[in-house]
């Protein structure tokens, strides 16, 4: 992809327009994804545990390992692509190298926490909170990075 090798993206109107629209669509997509997660699991750690581990009070069954595997696998597929594209742009921001590495490490770390959800049958509520908290944190970080990149493109510093 050309944005990986172009010297200054904001000087190229085609690249700038395409990337700004793509970032707007990704922010919308990440917001909808968070809405879907909150609808699926609930808005609090106790609701997440009840949704995944089941609840006698609500007569809900726990999610099996196969169901958890399917959810994590299909979610990770899209999120990895988002990470690579947004990460490629973050590394071009006009920040210190250490800052950029820290930003990318934070988002990678949060994404890698998501598979902890697979340990829910053994780890209980802690694994559920780590997994769902991790993926929600990843969405938040990617949304913030997308806004930082859009701002840099707008100010012609990328």
């Amino acid at each position: 992809m050309k944005f990986m090798v172009s010297k200054k993206l904001s000087d190229n109107p085609t690249m700038k327009t395409t990337l700004l629209w793509m970032l707007a669509a990704l922010v919308a997509g990440l917001s909808l994804s968070v809405a879907a997660k909150l609808g699926e699991y609930g808005a609090s750690p106790s609701a997440w545990s009840a949704a995944v581990l089941g609840s006698e009070a609500d007569f809900t069954e726990p999610l099996g390992l196969d169901e958890l595997l399917l959810r994590v696998h299909s979610d990770l597929f899209g999120l990895i692509f988002v990470y690579v594209v947004v990460g490629g742009l973050v590394m071009r921001l006009n920040y210190r190298t250490r800052t950029k590495i820290a930003l990318m490490a934070a988002s990678l770390g949060s994404l890698l926490l998501y598979p902890a959800l697979l340990l829910a049958p053994w780890g209980g509520g802690i694994a559920v909170c780590v997994g769902i908290g991790g993926v929600l944190g990843f969405h938040l970080l990617m949304g913030c990075y997308a806004l930082l990149i859009a701002l840099a493109l707008w100010k012609r510093s990328l």
Binding site: P13, T14, M15, T18, W21, L32, S33
Partner: protein, 138 residues
């Protein structure tokens, strides 16, 4: 490089054709079919479809549209003007089911126009990019 570009376009074209077929088979091809289908959908059902589209289509669009930067036959300002309709149609196509589910049934017309416009626009874009690639050898 040409073979990779051809494979990319062929795969995206195939994927779009599958999407169009799936749409016609599950939703229908008349605005009243579209309104009836989305009117019964729950928010979680709508999100289940729109989230993967919102995460993957912008990346595919970016992959396709950034190739416009290589088209020497178009002026830079014309190239960037071509990009806006694609994303506007994409947003209209993906967000209109939420409006239909809220009771705005007339949005089904917008859904049909944006869906068909988006698919035809992509087909035209890939045709232009491919013919240019093979003519100019870029």
């Amino acid at each position: 490089m040409r073979i990779v570009a051809l494979a990319f376009v062929a795969l995206l074209l195939f994927q779009s054709a599958l999407g169009a077929t799936l749409f016609v088979r599950t939703v229908g091809y008349l605005p009243c079919d579209v309104a009836a289908y989305y009117a019964d959908k729950s928010l979680s059902g709508l999100l289940e479809v729109s989230v993967p589209h919102f995460l993957m289509i912008p990346l595919a669009l970016m992959g396709s549209l950034h190739l416009l930067a290589f088209l020497g036959t178009l002026r830079p300002e014309h190239r960037s003007r071509l990009i806006h309709p694609f994303f506007l149609l994409f947003f209209a196509d993906q967000l209109s089911p939420f409006a239909i589910a809220q009771g705005f049934h007339w949005v089904a017309y917008l859904k049909m126009v944006s869906f068909i416009g988006f698919e035809l626009g992509l087909a035209a874009l890939w045709w232009v990019l491919l013919t240019h690639t093979f003519k100019e050898g870029e």
